[in-house]
């Protein structure tokens, strides 16, 4: 069975600092996609960043970047220059060959002003 594990229920960071959210996963597939989604208090699920497993280069989107370690099955999210608007639940998700998303339990990110 495929699983996604987020071991940090909650993280806090000072505004303007950098924070890293951890995610590990397990799959027997060689081709898959990994995602980080953000869920603010409005509950809308917003895509932060995606990574194709066949690409060795780590994805980046402005202040957001990932550290993708395929052999270790690790997919961490780094947020640089944290802003108050980054406060949310962050979910790591794996899309398998059936195109369904398997989700981690989420990490609540708190930004301290």
């Amino acid at each position: 069975a495929q699983t996604v594990t987020q071991s940090q229920p909650e993280m806090s960071v000072q505004e303007a600092e950098t924070v890293t959210l951890s995610c590990t996963y397990d799959t027997s597939e060689s081709d898959y996609y990994l995602f980080w989604y953000k869920q603010p208090p409005s509950r809308q699920m917003i895509l932060v960043i995606r990574q194709e497993a066949y690409k060795q280069q780590n994805a980046t989107e402005n202040r957001f970047s990932v550290n993708f370690q395929k052999a270790a099955k690790s997919f961490s999210l780094k947020i640089s220059d944290s802003q108050l608007g980054d406060a949310a639940m962050y979910f790591c998700a794996l899309e398998d060959s059936n195109y369904q998303l398997i989700w981690g339990a989420g990490t609540k990110l708190i930004i301290k002003p």
Partner: protein, 113 residues
Amino acid sequence: EPEVTQTPSHQVTQMGQEVILRCVPISNHLYFYWYRQILGQKVEFLVSFYNNEISEKSEIFDDQFSVERPDGSNFTLKIRSTKLEDSAMYFCASKPSSSYEQYFGPGTRLTVT
């Protein structure tokens, strides 16, 4: 920018009643999904729909659940006889092709009393 919409935003129903949750995916998208998130828990896949039929469904998606795409624009989730444990946020998602990320609607909060 096109977006997935869902109605209603909040539905309250009595146990045993039927509910229909509605979603309007983005117009050129071909893959459709329903997920649910019980309060405080991880997001769970329910069902995926492609080419006018269910492509995958989870163990949660039992005979009480059904999906339809009645008119080429709406995508509905019906729960035939609701139970207390069906109380959750239900998210609809869609994507244009297999290699894209899923775009999520804002969710419908279902409360079963």
